[in-house]
Homo-oligomer: 645 residues x 2
Amino acid sequence: MVVERLLPQVEGGFPVHRVAGVPTQLDAILLKEGHVLVAGVVRWRPVSPEGPWQELPLSSLGNDRWRAEFIPPAPGLYEWTVEAWPRRFATWQDELRRKRTVTSALSGELGEGATLLEEIAARADASLAARLAEHARVLRQGGEPALDRALSPGLASDAEATPDRHLSSTARPVRLLASRPRAEEGAWYEFFPRSTGGPDQHGTFATAAALLPEIAAMGFDVVYLPPIHPIGRTGRKGRNNSPHAAPGDVGSPWAIGAEEGGHDAVHPQLGTLGDFAAFVAAARKSGLEIALDLTFQCSPDHPWIRTHPAWFQHRPDGTLKTAENPPKRYDDVVNFDWLGPDRAALWDALYEVTCTWVDRGVSLFRVDNPHTKPLPFWEWFLARFQREHPEVVFLSEAFTRPEIMYGLARRGFHQSYTYFTWRTGRDELRAYLEEISRPPVSDFFCGNLWPNTPDILPEHLQRGGPAAFRQRLALAALASPVYGIYAGYELCEARALHGEEYLDSEKYQLVHRPNERPGHIRHFVARLNALRRTHPALRSRNIQFLDTDSPFLLAWWRWDDARRDQVLVAVSLDPYAPHSAHVTLPAELLPPAGRRPVEAVDLMGGRRHLLTPGALDVSLSPESPVAAWAVTPPPRDEHAYEYFA
Amino acid sequence: MVVERLLPQVEGGFPVHRVAGVPTQLDAILLKEGHVLVAGVVRWRPVSPEGPWQELPLSSLGNDRWRAEFIPPAPGLYEWTVEAWPRRFATWQDELRRKRTVTSALSGELGEGATLLEEIAARADASLAARLAEHARVLRQGGEPALDRALSPGLASDAEATPDRHLSSTARPVRLLASRPRAEEGAWYEFFPRSTGGPDQHGTFATAAALLPEIAAMGFDVVYLPPIHPIGRTGRKGRNNSPHAAPGDVGSPWAIGAEEGGHDAVHPQLGTLGDFAAFVAAARKSGLEIALDLTFQCSPDHPWIRTHPAWFQHRPDGTLKTAENPPKRYDDVVNFDWLGPDRAALWDALYEVTCTWVDRGVSLFRVDNPHTKPLPFWEWFLARFQREHPEVVFLSEAFTRPEIMYGLARRGFHQSYTYFTWRTGRDELRAYLEEISRPPVSDFFCGNLWPNTPDILPEHLQRGGPAAFRQRLALAALASPVYGIYAGYELCEARALHGEEYLDSEKYQLVHRPNERPGHIRHFVARLNALRRTHPALRSRNIQFLDTDSPFLLAWWRWDDARRDQVLVAVSLDPYAPHSAHVTLPAELLPPAGRRPVEAVDLMGGRRHLLTPGALDVSLSPESPVAAWAVTPPPRDEHAYEYFA
């Protein structure tokens, strides 16, 4: 008996990512020579902390493939395998049944069966053993009564009451990481609490909390806060990334640590830990989760630099080594000595300080620059969270080097930033989104699509006006179960300093945003997030792109796992001109040719249509760059609806 | 330092299949946080018998991917891995070079460099250590001379003379099975030596040898012989699979063993072992290799049944259990007790008897029904051949159950029969041939395409006449580097008993074939095999199918690894009517739009054409069902050639 393959698996032995509470298919290829019938079970257990093995029945899919449905009961790391064994008695019975169709001269076979029953009886309890012995006696007597007994269901049930598991084989277990649903689904909104104080006023947790109902009203699930810790003074950056801060400049929140405290402290101007607790409570009231930035670096003023000098890199002359990306140097930031002699204490401290924030109500972390820290650190750090706080979700800011991005995901990051931010053409968007939404990548990687971030105001947003903002939002919000925008996006802020850098970037100064502003797209944001809330299809990872005959139109189809909800989306990629295109509809979506059409509800306009097989004509414009339809089975009276052109 | 992935690999840790002497690419993903420069080597060695580790340089392909070209020196099993390390000094020098573009205040950096050099010196020999100490001294003096020295190539070469391999990481080794070229390339011809004796005469090795020049003239590389051993008398089958043999009936050669001997003996009517040696010599003279059938079952008269009763399955009443496929029984065949108590001696005996035939000049084996024997047996058997006779090639007769077919290939079968025999539609042919010619399947599985076998005269050949025989031959011979036909194919023998069974099957009787017969396609066979000999593209595994707008026309493009030879093929799938189609030509084949066309030589007609971008019009008919062109770079005087329509 050979358990040949277990599926799904991730190359290199890393865990497959799945969602707790959601059914997932565990498959195995079971091979046994000849015509021997086989059976098997999935065996699974939680690891770290280790739990008892449990079993699930396997059903045959044909072609030697078997499947069990597994619902991870809770977030955490699991392992599973398949144990399979030959069904010796069932095989014998099956062969006997087929032979009896051509002959009754089967005494040799009956003798074999009797011997088999006696072997089984030797492993059975007394009452079963007695029944099996009686069956064997009847079989040995031969003739038609013996054949009838041999083929009886009662005998089969006695003989298989004790499966041949002493003949079983078990594959090497593979791992599965179950996360809570928020790990693979959600709309994120990033904002700087310090900017919420009104004109020229430093914001506080209280003023930030006042903004939460509005963010919730736009339909977001998560608010992501850049670092909220004390900011260093040494080497502080001025406005627009000036190397010298002017008096009153607030500095970059990523220069963490000052005499007021380090990673466990809050910036005094934002308030106290009590104020933060109130902010957490307000977020909960608005139905928002809090994601905090996790930046593992320090300002030269961080308390750890005095208390734990061995955690930092020094030059041979004893001076502290500041961060750099040659020829650039960052005088406001120093790096940890990740692999230095005191790394065990350092790693523990970073774990502990992260737990502090979990205890204070933070349930997600966006990790800054994880690719500049050693992969073995993340493997250790994330494994410990899987063990001790499996509900906490980590988003990796890995914009560069796709293999590092995937390497971080394999080590347990739940989500990652993506190259979506720079993909603009129809074919490159489609190819990239297909890559990350299908196995093997989707088995360990989940993309969180951001049209902008404080670091990236892409060129297409700088030039394309509100139409571009709507288009990029629709791509992110309707093509991915997880996406996010950085504050100001809904106001179509688009002024750059140079390259992709925002002018007067909030990274270095307070930015006051009036509540309303001409050309804002708050209602559009709210509409798309409302569609996501209403349609499970838009929160699932199932997506199929559709062929279009215009390079300016990207279209796709999404559905939920139960296939009760299906949504068709088309988005224009050109913010400057209207475009029309034929969208080829997938056969799976439509009834067989000649059958009745399916009903479609226009999600942007609310009208109902009937969708007929073939191609769908879509016209989009800079003013109306998105079309979406919910597709359901046809209604009884199909004449009540107009047809698509 | 992390060696993240090694490529190629086969799921489950089985070896990747490659050809000895042919360059293959070994890739690795090397990940190191930040901007650290890295280096690495491929380390490889033969296993079983184990050889010393050897190294190959890795070159960067960008995006953290590295590659080495490996040429397996000889057939056998290898393992390889990648060892990689950070280049600390080179990284320091690279950063210093970039920083110097903006500042000269680099004394801290120079101090770091000096310390690094002193560390390296501690691991260096005396003369290098002295030079490194002098470099360090100059660096510590600071100023422009120190910077010049720090960036000098001489210093780099001294500092990197001893790579940082004490900081290296090495991945878990993976395996690669190298075979001789014949494992993945060749035209096979199957015939029964006993049928070569002329009308009503039992053939001999001598009469069979007389046929070899003709087989060689048709362009075949391998002659495959069904079993040539003594045939049992007990339960012998008569003509057309009759359960009772008439006097004089020759029986099935697959009922191996009689009083004259078993698997190591030859059938007395075929001749002696000396006659077989003469046959082997004749085959060599004709440039043909010999493949022998390897059928691990016995007739009830096999000597082993007396000498080694424990090797066979018995019923509880002590009677021998004959082979069966319920409700069918095969009274002329008994099976081994593969997993019985005496299996070690049985497995050894089967290995030894196979080696006997290797010693007698057989270099390939076609293994009968391997899927009815345990996979662990094949794993053991083939591993021992890899170790002791890695030049011997095994073809698996696994027609059923795709997962078993692939499971056998993973365990070391070089080739396998395929489902090609039953694929007739354009799309199903294309999909199947794509599946087996691309990774992951092509990394461990090599299909040997047979349009017919003694067991299978497919329905399309029974009905389609010579046109169908030409079409199926062209599909097998021109779409696959390995293919074979069973004798009579070139004569278009097409009479069935029932189902796919030949009438008057050669499995149970002698079949005399006159040398010529109206409607034979010997010349067509010879022509296609000649094309295979002339064109390396047709012996490679590279294939890309081309879109056609007729469901009756399959077209593809093949090329050799060096891309010096390229062949376009189109085959009609309809033996009854002519068809025309547009074949979309791949961009890689054609020059950029507007550039000069490429020259194409019509391989079936010999005329030259110029191929222009776009679609190629192809017309095929039952009389002329195949078109093929060799495509080469354009000649100087392109006006000498006509254009395709």
